[in-house]
């Protein structure tokens, strides 16, 4: 097989592959930025729970409008935001409660599956849980592009307080910043999760957000550099995953997540080797 047939032909000849690639590019941009902030704020577990908080709302959206991306997104956004606000309020009142988070995660998932199965089929359940990146239409693409634009603009405008809130929240309060930046950030995460939802489903939506960001984090760049690298890794994983999915006839969402996992593993191994080599050179010098 020629390199052209392996890499370029699927995107050149098939409209749904091109649409999926553009959607993945948009998602890689927003996920790279939000995912990096998530990793830096050590909120990966919270984001995973938020990913499942989208499920009941999306299921209610499914009851109203069937498998319409708009209804699923609106429902997911409402329930994700509601749970995010609730979690923020609880976090202000007392310490982190892991068992509560896990309980919520299980209940949200089960409730969503029951609702979708009630009115739909097993195929609908699989679609909601794992997404269908290859069935993204132009309307969904516009929704993803709009969400990505909003996320990038908001992070660009609020980067400094969002960053300070993550490493020194007391300083931010002490200088009189009364804006609820934690809630704003939670809303950004929910928006990013909902825009990933159709492509990757509620179970995997957190994957393209966290895995490329965690891989970028290994390289030790500053926050802006890590965001750019996470977006690049996200795009690379998407291209690789789409091609693997096309040539091997595998589900596209999991293939993209596995490709991102390979990038994370490679980043961990390579950076560890580099650190050891530089430490050896340093000690012998």
């Amino acid at each position: 097989m020629t390199p052209y047939a392996l890499v370029l032909a699927p995107f050149e000849t098939l409209d749904f592959m091109r649409t999926a690639l553009v959607a993945c590019l948009a998602l890689a941009l927003s996920n790279g930025v939000v995912g990096t902030l998530l990793v830096l704020r050590r909120m990966s577990m919270d984001a995973d729970v938020l990913g499942h908080a989208v499920m009941p709302g999306a299921a209610i959206g499914f009851l109203f409008g069937g498998p319409s991306p708009t209804w699923l997104s609106v429902g997911g956004l409402v329930s994700g935001l509601a749970v995010g606000m609730l979690a923020d309020l609880m976090a202000q009142g007392r310490g982190r409660d892991d068992s509560g988070l896990v309980a919520f995660y299980l209940l949200a998932l089960s409730f969503g599956v029951v609702l979708v199965t009630w009115r739909g089929s097993n195929i609908d359940v699989v679609r909601v849980l794992f997404g269908t990146v290859l069935s993204i239409d132009h309307r969904s693409l516009l929704q993803i592009a709009a969400a990505t634009t909003a996320i990038l603009l908001l992070v660009a405008a609020l980067y400094r307080p969002l960053a300070v809130a993550s490493f020194d929240p007391v300083f931010l309060r002490a200088v009189g910043a009364r804006v609820p930046y934690r809630t704003i950030f939670t809303s950004l995460v929910v928006l990013a999760l909902v825009s990933s939802f159709q492509a990757f489903g509620t179970l995997l939506a957190i994957g393209p957000m966290l895995l490329p960001a965690a891989a970028a984090q290994c390289w030790g760049f500053g926050a802006a550099g890590s965001m750019a690298l996470a977006s690049a890794f996200g795009l690379l994983a998407s291209i690789a995953g789409l091609l693997i999915s096309y040539h091997a006839n595998l589900p596209s969402g999991p293939a993209i997540i596995l490709a991102a996992g390979c990038l994370l593993t490679a980043s961990m191994v390579i950076t560890r080797i580099i650190h050891r080599a530089s430490a050896t050179i340093g000690s012998s010098a």
């Binding site: 830096l40 007392r94 405008a157 609020l158 993550s166 490493f167 002490a174 030790g220 500053g222 926050a223």
Partner: protein, 225 residues
């Protein structure tokens, strides 16, 4: 509120759920005073500083300020996540937050002031290092440099000498004395009573309630009693 008071507390109580962190604190910190806050662990010292800084809201009681200005507040070092990829220069420049605000990057004047503040605390050669690469003492020096940039008339320090070497304590004490000479109001939470006796004219002894508040010798005598 008396005319020379910088900040006055009136019957301030703070509850965390059923637990009382601070109970019925009343009194005033005079402008230009240098006060140590002492007491055993868990007696409300950090809570008191949080109330004065405005980061903790009292459950009951009021806090009166002479001017509408935020104090510069240094919480315990453990409250800062040093894993964030931030350089020393960027950390110190945050002290100019009042000038550049939430939406803008620090200007040239703030960056130059940050470099000057780093020189003052002996961190000139570390400006481009990540904060995670600093020792506890160096991080504390960087946070003092950030306080210098904040240029506030009231400065609150929560256990600034914890896990810090003697040389760094000397540098930080020198800075505290400098602020006191400039007429700023400085309130410091401390455990080292020897240091309190030798360096701090006034002392507040806490055990959830106010045990003693006044000149250090008499306040510490009440603590011993």
């Amino acid at each position: 509120m008396s005319s020379d008071a910088r900040i006055e507390l009136r019957d301030v109580t703070v509850r965390h759920g059923r637990c009382i962190a601070l109970e019925g604190i009343s009194g005033a910190f005079a402008g230009g005073s240098l006060t140590a806050v002492v007491g055993a662990n868990g007696t409300g010292k950090s809570t008191l500083l949080g109330v004065i800084a405005g980061t903790i809201r009292p459950s009951t009681g009021t806090v009166l300020r002479a001017v509408d200005e935020r104090p510069a507040y240094l919480p315990q070092v453990i409250s800062i996540d040093i894993g964030y990829p931030l350089t020393v220069a960027e950390l110190i420049a945050l002290g100019g937050w009042r000038e550049f605000g939430s939406f803008w990057a620090p200007g040239v004047a703030v960056i130059e002031a940050a470099a000057e503040a780093a020189r003052t605390v002996g961190l000139s050669g570390h400006l481009h290092r990540r904060i995670g690469q600093l020792s506890v003492g160096q991080l504390q020096r960087a946070l003092f440099a950030r306080l210098i940039l904040q240029d506030a008339s009231m400065i609150l320090l929560d256990e600034p000498f914890a896990s810090v070497d003697a040389q760094t304590i000397e540098v930080l004490l020198d800075r505290i004395e400098h602020w006191h000479r400039q007429g700023r109001t400085v309130i410091v939470v401390l455990h080292d009573l020897g240091l309190v006796r030798s360096q701090f004219p006034d002392t507040l002894v806490l055990a959830q309630r106010c045990i003693a508040w006044g000149p250090t010798a008499s306040a510490l005598a009440a603590l011993a009693a």
